[in-house]
């Protein structure tokens, strides 16, 4: 057994954790999330580059909350999500053990959020070069070209909301998209409905998105709507100097500085 499997088995057999959430081999050479309570199952855990689903999404589910103490196999984006959720008071520290696996493959166990926060703060969210290039490409277009580009890209969306289901930050029990008095977002997957859904999603994730890419991975049609949140992160870095989830750091949109700079308010 490798390190994270040993830790997971140890936590379960000592009774420290009631359940472990991680990834195991699924069908068609893909991985799937697993939730297990018996230490002998720890040997089925896998962790590699295929583990792109953000399993922090399960931590806010009521079925998991009632399970007692949870240990979670966490990649860096999952660790960031946990810190972001904790800063939004969605997770309780005494109920979560993080078995972190750093991008270099080092296994680190975090028992408290402070230690996890310190680790997450030592890293920075960087948008991958291939996305940066794509964003620049879109930004260089004229206004009409951009409008047509997005109209075309978003026309594929049939509003399955897989992006929402995959996102750990979309934990609202009632989403704006389900508000129908008045109807905020048109239900049909027409251009308007698609535009408003993706604008709403991006804005509600503004300053909270940890750039894990789980939404885009979950999209059955491969719509590049993750460019929206990525563009916002790049913009936030420019406008507000820095972007990283942190326990005490307030979200970009729930905090302010009296001398925030803009150039368009008359």
């Amino acid at each position: 057994m490798n390190e994270y499997q040993t830790i997971a088995a140890g936590l379960l057999s000592s009774g420290t954790a009631a359940m472990v959430i991680g990834y195991s081999e699924g069908s068609a050479k893909r991985v799937r999330p697993v939730f297990f309570t018996r230490p002998e199952e720890a040997s089925t855990l896998v962790f590699d580059s295929r583990c792109v689903q953000n399993i922090a999404v399960y931590l806010t589910k009521k079925e998991i909350r009632t399970e007692g103490k949870i240990a979670i196999i966490a990649s860096l984006p999952v660790m960031r999500s946990i810190i972001q959720l904790a800063s939004e008071h969605q997770l309780s520290e005494e109920k979560i053990i993080v078995i972190g696996i750093t991008p270099s493959g080092e296994v680190k166990q975090f028992n408290g959020f402070d230690a996890l926060d310190a680790y997450v703060s030592s890293t920075t969210i960087e948008i991958e070069a291939r996305y940066r290039e794509k964003i620049e490409q879109v930004e260089k277009m004229t206004l009409t070209e951009r409008w047509n580009f997005w109209k075309n890209e978003l026309s594929a969306c049939f509003k399955c909301y897989a992006c929402r289901a995959a996102c750990p930050m979309c934990y609202c029990t009632r989403c704006t998209v389900e508000m129908n008095q008045p109807q905020w977002i048109p239900v049909p997957s027409h251009t308007l409905g698609n535009f408003e859904w993706h604008i709403m999603r991006a804005m509600h994730l503004a300053g909270r998105c940890v750039d894990c890419n789980a939404c885009a991975e979950a999209c059955p049609l491969g719509i590049p709507f993750n460019l929206l949140t990525k563009q916002m992160i790049l913009q936030f870095k420019k406008d507000f100097g820095g972007y990283n989830p942190s326990l005490k750091g307030l979200n970009i949109l729930s905090s302010y500085l009296p001398d925030d700079k803009e150039n368009f308010i008359q």
Binding site: I135, V138, E139, M141, L143, T144, E145, R146, W147, N148, F149, W150, K151, T176, W184, P186, P188, H190, T191, L192, G193, F195, E196, I199, M200, A202, M203, A206, G207, L227, L228, Q231, M232, Q235, F236, D239, F240, I252, L253, S254, S255, Y256, L257, P258, D260, E262, F264, I265, Q266
Partner: protein, 151 residues
Amino acid sequence: MENKIFEPKIVAFVCNWCTYAGADLTGTSRIKYAPNVKIVRFPCTGRIDFMLLLKAFGEGADGIIVSGCHPNDCHYTSGNFHARRRWISFRSLLDFLGIDTGRITFSWVSAAEGAKWAALVNDTVSRIKELGPYTDYEKVARYYEEEVNHE
């Protein structure tokens, strides 16, 4: 109809404490300004949901004004600071999506600036007149009619 001069429809989302009172002062001071604007009063600019701006465009607005108290003047201390951050991020998102941010005027107008309100509306109206009607967004908003026509 062809010869009719284009009169833009402008929706103004303003805060109750500064800009709404400012616009009131414009009226009581008998300053004349463009009648194209429809004012929607909010408790605070911090309360204006970004979706409302999209709804205005969807319903056929050619331009939008968003205005509230000057920084440090907010009735609720920090509503306009929060609003400022929201508009900074929302504006860049709209621009990235190809929605014309030139049609949205953001401003601070205090309760004492009746003349500034009149100038702001006049400026916005003349700018939108040059830009012409905004049809991109409204067109996609008429999806229902389109579907009926299709059938």
